[in-house]
């Protein structure tokens, strides 16, 4: 843990204020403090939801993913040892949850198609419109690791280092995924236009 025992104990005495650091809240939540945990989740929910929406492009699904992430955070907090920053850890969980949801959706879509109710599927298309629709689609169709790297670095604006933390790989690996992804995006977009 990054928080030393002394400061953690000092903070324990105060209520969960908005100014308290993630590390402090995490330490207290790990020690079983419900209010600290609630504050932590509420603080980061907008970020989680934003990334979830960017991954899937669907309002309802983004909310479902965000909720799933919050539950996973509750289950996983005990194992979070502060080796990455808390936001990086959240990014990693969110990307995983979005990927799982994407897979589940692919299965549902296949089932629906088999049942020939294509009308249902059209309604579930991503909501973003305009000139960037093709780009969003191209990014979402990248292989998972590449998509994750592009989402974190280009869309969320993380540094390569932060993205590497979130993805649990070396910084050079992130750079490499980005390099491959960019080449593929260019091909995909050239084909689309």
């Amino acid at each position: 843990m990054r928080t030393s025992g002394v400061t953690a104990a000092a903070r324990q005495a105060t209520a969960a204020g908005p100014a308290e650091s993630d590390d402090g809240l995490v330490a207290r939540a790990r020690a079983g403090d419900r209010r600290a945990f609630a504050a932590l989740v509420a603080r980061h929910y907008p970020t989680i939801h934003r990334l979830a929406w960017r991954c899937c492009g669907d309002r309802t699904e983004a909310e479902d993913i965000a909720q799933e992430v919050c539950v996973r955070v509750a289950r996983g907090l005990a194992g979070f040892e502060g080796r990455s920053s808390f936001p990086s850890w959240l990014y990693g969980i969110t990307l995983n949850a979005a990927r799982d949801a994407g897979r589940a959706r692919a299965r549902r879509t296949a089932t629906l198609q088999n049942a020939a109710v294509a009308a249902e599927i059209d309604a579930a298309e991503p909501e973003d419109a305009g000139e960037d629709a093709a780009l969003w689609q191209a990014v979402r169709e990248l292989p998972p690791r590449q998509r994750d790297a592009v989402m974190l670095v280009h869309v969320e604006g993380l540094t390569h280092r932060q993205a590497a933390e979130a993805l649990g790989c070396a910084e050079t690996t992130v750079s490499w995924h980005l390099f491959t992804a960019r080449r593929q995006l260019k091909t995909m977009l050239a084909r689309a236009s």
Binding site: F37, A42, A62, L77, A78, H154, C169, T172, R182
Partner: protein, 697 residues
């Protein structure tokens, strides 16, 4: 589309509006999270989840802990009821384990001398082209670190299925006959006739179906890849004046090459983390001069020559070849195969390939050898009791009966395998457990340390472990490496039947019979001759300087007839490639002994004979008489190793080899193929061409 356009487009994505979450949804999410939080608190004893970072038991810089967490993470489905049931014994096991073995804080270990800062920022135009010091990242853990607390209890494997065999002799349960349809699906070929010709014939028979790898490769590519590799950044440049001594453990593994080959054959550049340059180099046999006797198991071959990818630096090539045990004095082998037959092995490139490989190896054994097979899936069992190698019919029949199904219970399997190996221990022979798995390996120990300790203890008792990796999709390279390293064995990756032929038939003696163990290399560079140096590869094998003379520190083993090669890229004093400036306030350079003026450095190799506990030392100066100015005058072996080194570094996307185009790598390898009786080097040239097209150059 140009890069600028793409950047602008991606910037638009960053700034595009995201529909805000409704308060309702947020409230629901928080409520669900609180419910899960409370459930966690109720289900788990807090003591069980506050696991401190486990101590590093082996001094390698890229320890596999995060890898193990990643595996355990996949086991999170054990939560809920299972977690409740196992919580109590788990707590007890952890208390015992942590109390006895694990300090509260991991020992601070830093084998890397201070990193020089000038590095990549030095303008190349003014300083010449240097060795590029890669940007360094801290080793980071898995994104989800929640993993380790849901392991099975430490003593989960204590209750092995112990039932007397029908004849009362075996004290370990025999695996039940597989279901008829499972056996049928495997379509066993008729048992091969006895005799040395069997493996070759078997190979031809199976060559046709196996050559259609493309079919199942395509299938496996559709699934998202969950293959796990240890992330290790390439070694940085060291300044000789600050850190003249470089120490590492040898690595005779070859797994990385087969993995890279498979990846390229499927049309994708391998992930940089899956490329270990030293394993690519060591995949190929080199004709280094052989040592004369077993007492001195190898002789170093050293060469210094201009770096193919940088005119201003030099390569120091250090090659060793293990003493080749002649068949007459080959020790008897007591082999226990531990075969993963869990459901995940049910793929054309997994269990069927394991079975074919096993049969190939069986054809190499004689009546002095014993082979046994232990399977593990839902529960562990013995599929073949120790059987003389000459009884090929019995062995083949047992192999044919293996069928995939059930979940993985690796710990019970590994215990059973070690129990069998110990029961049939050959005093003057080779006792080895060979694990064949895809790495989706659930051991009953509570963390990776437990497993490592088990393997280490068995190693000390004389039973070594080797790992054969199979399949793709959930391949766990990191764990394989760790297991083999701790078990005095090698890790090989079997991607096709050809590879099984190489590892288990052509190189069987080197795979099975070690001639030296705990082999460490230490090079002290002479600051008067070498300004900077960089070890190519071996990132996961670095040792600290003091480990070299410490006989308790484990290191790699060298098999009979095996070759191991290490390359350093050095910047000679006065070369424009130098990255660092002299220290203004540094102590003046220690004047080297007059006789050492001509030396680039001094090579020391420590090793133990397989049955000894005290290390021996080989020393040799790296002097200028070993230097060559023209690549062309070098032996094929040395030039080929340089080509492989360039290939590996290019795949690893390091900047050092950017200046060397793929065509130059291919040309260098093509001109250095030599006799190439097995066709490995021709295969490499094809692979380099493939890599060239895939990288878009």
């Amino acid at each position: 589309m140009a890069d600028d356009d793409l950047d602008r487009a991606l910037d638009r994505l960053r700034n595009s509006p995201v529909p805000a979450a409704t308060d309702d949804a947020k409230a629901r999410a928080i409520a669900a999270a609180m419910q899960a939080f409370d459930a966690e608190a109720a289900e788990k004893n807090p003591a069980a989840r506050t696991q401190g970072p486990a101590a590093r038991r082996r001094l390698i810089s890229g320890a596999g802990q995060s890898a193990w967490r990643r595996i355990m993470q996949n086991r999170i489905a054990f939560g809920g009821i299972a977690a409740g049931v196992i919580a109590f014994p788990l707590v007890a096991a952890l208390v015992v384990e942590r109390g006895v073995f694990v300090p509260a804080q991991p020992p601070v270990f830093d084998a890397t001398p201070p990193r020089q800062q000038a590095g990549p920022n030095v303008p190349a135009e003014t300083r010449g082209r240097g060795i590029v010091d890669p940007p360094k990242t801290e080793a980071v853990g898995a994104p989800n670190e929640q993993a380790a607390d849901l392991a099975l209890p430490q003593d989960g494997y204590a209750d092995l299925p112990v039932a007397p065999g029908p004849d009362g002799e075996a004290d370990i349960a025999v695996a039940p006959e597989p279901a008829p349809e499972a056996a049928g699906a495997a379509a066993p070929p008729p048992p091969s006739p006895l005799g040395g010709a069997a493996p070759a014939r078997l190979e031809r028979k199976l060559a046709a179906p196996m050559s259609t790898t493309a079919a199942f490769d395509a299938a496996s590519q559709q699934a998202p890849a969950r293959d796990r590799f240890e992330a290790a950044d390439p070694n940085g440049v060291k300044v000789t004046a600050e850190a003249p001594v470089s120490t590492f453990s040898i690595d005779a593994d070859t797994a990385s090459y087969a993995w890279v080959r498979r990846s390229l054959a499927q049309g994708a550049l391998p992930a940089p983390d899956s490329v270990r340059v030293e394993e690519l180099i060591n995949y190929f046999p080199y004709a280094y001069p052989l040592p004369l006797s077993r007492e001195e198991p190898f002789r170093p071959t050293v060469a210094v020559y201009p770096t193919p990818w940088n005119a201003d630096t030099r390569i120091v090539h250090i090659g060793i070849k293990g003493y080749d045990v002649v068949p007459a004095e080959r020790p008897a082998a007591n082999l226990v195969f531990l075969v993963d037959v869990s459901g995940s092995m049910d793929a054309p490139d997994k269990l069927p390939l394991v079975k074919a490989s096993l049969k190939m190896l069986a054809g190499r054994l004689s009546d002095r050898d014993r082979i046994a097979i232990v399977t593990y899936a839902g529960e562990a069992g013995v599929a073949l009791r120790p059987t003389p190698g000459s009884d090929l019919a019995t062995i083949t029949a047992a192999i044919d009966r293996l069928g995939a199904g059930g979940s993985t219970a690796g710990a019970a399997g590994i215990e059973t395998a070690y129990a069998l190996a110990r029961a049939n221990f050959v005093d003057d022979g080779v006792n080895r457990v060979m694990l064949a798995t895809d790495g989706d390996f659930n051991v009953g120990t509570s963390d990776d340390d437990g497993l490592t300790r088990l393997i280490e203890e068995e190693r000390k008792s004389g039973v070594f472990l080797s790992v054969l990796g199979f399949g793709q999709g959930n391949y766990n390279d990191a764990l394989m490496q760790r297991l083999a390293q701790n078990g005095n064995g090698t890790a090989a990756y079997i991607d096709q039947l050809d590879e099984a032929q190489k590892v288990l038939v052509d190189e069987a003696t080197s795979t099975l019979f070690p001639v030296a163990k705990d082999v460490k290399i230490q090079v002290e560079f002479n600051p008067a001759a070498v300004a900077e140096y960089r070890l190519i590869g071996y990132e996961t094998r670095l040792l600290s300087r003091t480990d070299f003379n410490d006989d308790t520190v484990d290191a790699g083993e060298v098999g009979s007839g095996a070759t191991v090669t290490a390359l350093y890229e050095i910047v000679p004093v006065g070369s424009p490639a130098r990255l660092s400036d002299d220290l203004r306030y540094g102590a003046s350079r220690p004047a080297p002994a007059a006789s050492a003026d001509g030396e680039y450095g001094f090579l020391k190799i420590r090793y133990k004979l397989p049955d000894e506990d005290t290390s021996r030392l080989i020393e040799q100066p790296i002097d200028r008489s070993l230097e060559t100015d023209a690549l062309a005058s070098l032996s094929d072996d040395v030039r080929f190793a340089a080509a492989v080194a360039a290939f590996g570094q290019k795949l690893k996307a390091t900047r050092n080899t950017e200046a060397m185009p793929w065509d130059a790598v291919i040309a260098l390898a093509e001109g250095a193929r030599g006799p190439d009786p097995w066709g490995y080097r021709n295969g490499f040239v094809r692979l380099a061409r493939l890599a060239k097209s895939l990288s878009g150059h």
